[in-house]
Symmetry: C2
Amino acid sequence: MTTLYTTAEDAEEAFYEAIGRADLDALMATWSDDEEIVCIHPTGQRMDGHAAIRESWRSIFESNPRFSVHIRSKIRWQSLLLCVHSVVETLYLENDRTTHGPMLTTNVFIRGANGWRLLSRHTSAAAEASDGENDDLDTKQHTLH
Amino acid sequence: MTTLYTTAEDAEEAFYEAIGRADLDALMATWSDDEEIVCIHPTGQRMDGHAAIRESWRSIFESNPRFSVHIRSKIRWQSLLLCVHSVVETLYLENDRTTHGPMLTTNVFIRGANGWRLLSRHTSAAAEASDGENDDLDTKQHTLH
């Protein structure tokens, strides 16, 4: 059964929930089937296409069976067919009270026949001096006309 | 005088040309005036807004008065109001025959009253083992309907 995400936020939430469960199938289901897709990991590796992206996340889950990613949504630009979120991620490892990150992420979503799906994800480590940690939690949302 | 970029490619070309000339005004003119804008540097610093982005590039030009960035465009997703380019950048420093990079970049453009402008730029260093260097130079372009 294919889940239809009616908003980019729904697809994004499902993506991060899948990470929290280390559920590879659920994670891959949040990506677009119709378009070429790109996932850039904080290691500097760029994965193109479903097979490469799936394999990279399989490897991540194998090395880190239990972790979760909390996002503070910062800026969202929304148009009819594309939606871009610029977010700050913090990683929590199970049995480890310290947090990891922050990571800076640009998530791009596309609206297709199956609703909104991930098209591109670009993540890189934030500098220690990043102001991201101190920003307020408000989401800034822009709908383009 | 405001230049009107009729395509995202025009705005992107003007952005990289401005880097090559270390022309801060020209570089900033390729960014959207109407929207909140974000520039994530490979140092892991996230700049929000015109003033912070301008200051970061002023500092970059001050430290590196002459360098150029060549891009190999990889994947482009185009909709009516937003356009996303996933590109691989190589840096050339003047008087230095070696190249630097590759860098992985996600450039997001928006169409407004003044044509296409930069909305978000996310750059991070590619892993040494990135397959980016070996990919062909063809641009993959997708127009969404």
